[in-house]
Symmetry: C2
């Protein structure tokens, strides 16, 4: 394998797209910066598939060059309410309870695993830019959302890869890192992100037409609701 | 989630067990150091399943506390002769050709992905020791086998996890890092590693009894053969 040349034309990026409002905003930001975007979503044993359907719709609506879903059985590792049916999703917690501790919805080392897969995907496409919607403000309890983790990971990825060895350093773009949910929503609205297509709820019901109904009470719903209210932008979410 | 206590009793470790002779030797070393070993093998779209069967037999023979197989479709990323049927496994290469470049059997960022999964697995078991058989001597063309990658990864893993945040740093043990294949085989033989159960060949045939027959010509077979010869230990491999 010889050093692959940097491809001509607009730069390519790998975008982690969960189907939530953060990653949808990141995809719009990457597009606005001129990147050709290859989106990657994970079926990691989530309890529900609504967010994967949302990711597909968003990749199309935001003109991604490609969208791929990768199966990854984090459920085999257990330990999180998002993948383990025996742990209840917490509801109606106040802000202090949310901020106090690492939540039970934490999936062990999830961003480490997902970013590693993104790097493998990026390297096989001769691309060293990776975009993620991690955010250190609203989810401060998740250790793998912190900027010092993101910086350390990019350095490790450069050491791990053939592209890095050949002098092309990986950049992990985390443009939402220091933004509040309201700031993210305002930035996304300015880029015409179709927020009605995004999905946040950890524990949705399904409407008679198959679309999701958000519970309105889990941490994700509460943070989302408050974000739209603070941004002064109507919340397009359908709640139970 | 409150800080989990360090469990009483002997320390636990997660061991990446591929079924090859390197990881088998590492498992024996971890056991000899007193670790209770939880082994993790990956079905990552290898062309053949002989090495997974070897991993199962080795976990049992070397008294691992548990063995788990995780499906991980690296094949979705393409780009390697080990996962992509359209790329031929190179045969009969001399040492200089093997050492010259990153081989086509390189799976993009494989160790980054596998170690990340090992950290997720370890964290869900309240354990911060991870053993890997990566080796920088024989496979110097693989960037994610280098000690500087291993060190950087352990630092990143500590930043990525709840356990790390709570003051328990991850250690990635790579005891074979600076050993030649002959040194590895001598060390393993002293620990009674059942090398007849290990599998190295990238392109094996299957004997009439279902067991593998090594090709004897791919890089892995050549390195293995030479290792046994240099160690002065009979090679128990069945070759074509």
């Amino acid at each position: 394998m010889t050093a692959p040349p940097v491809p001509p034309g607009p730069p390519a990026a790998t975008v982690l797209l969960s189907g939530g409002l953060d990653s949808a905003t990141v995809l719009a930001m990457a597009r606005a910066q001129g990147f050709v975007c290859h989106c990657l979503s994970f079926d990691y044993g989530q309890r529900h598939k609504h967010e994967l359907l949302a990711a597909r719709a968003l990749a199309s609506a935001l003109s991604a060059a490609s969208w791929q879903i990768v199966t990854l059985d984090l459920r085999a590792f257990g330990g999180s309410a998002l993948t383990d049916d025996t742990i209840a999703v917490p509801k109606d917690r106040d802000e202090r309870a949310m901020a106090a501790d690492i939540p039970v919805t934490y999936v062990p080392a999830r961003n480490l695993v997902l970013l590693s897969m993104a790097v493998a995907f990026a390297e096989s496409r001769n691309c060293v830019d990776v975009f993620t919607g991690v955010n250190a403000v609203d989810y401060s309890g998740y250790p793998d959302c912190r900027p010092q983790f993101i910086r350390s990971f990019a350095h490790t990825a450069t050491l791990a890869t053939a592209l890095g060895t050949q002098g092309r350093a990986f950049t992990v773009h985390a443009p939402l890192s220091d933004m509040t949910k309201a700031q993210i929503i305002r930035a996304g609205a300015a880029l015409n992100v179709p927020y009605h297509l995004t999905h946040s709820c950890y524990d949705p019901a399904t409407a008679s037409d198959g679309s999701p109904l958000a519970c309105g009470r889990c941490d994700a719903c509460q943070i989302r609701r408050r974000g739209f209210a603070e941004a002064g932008i109507p919340d397009p979410t359908r709640y139970l």
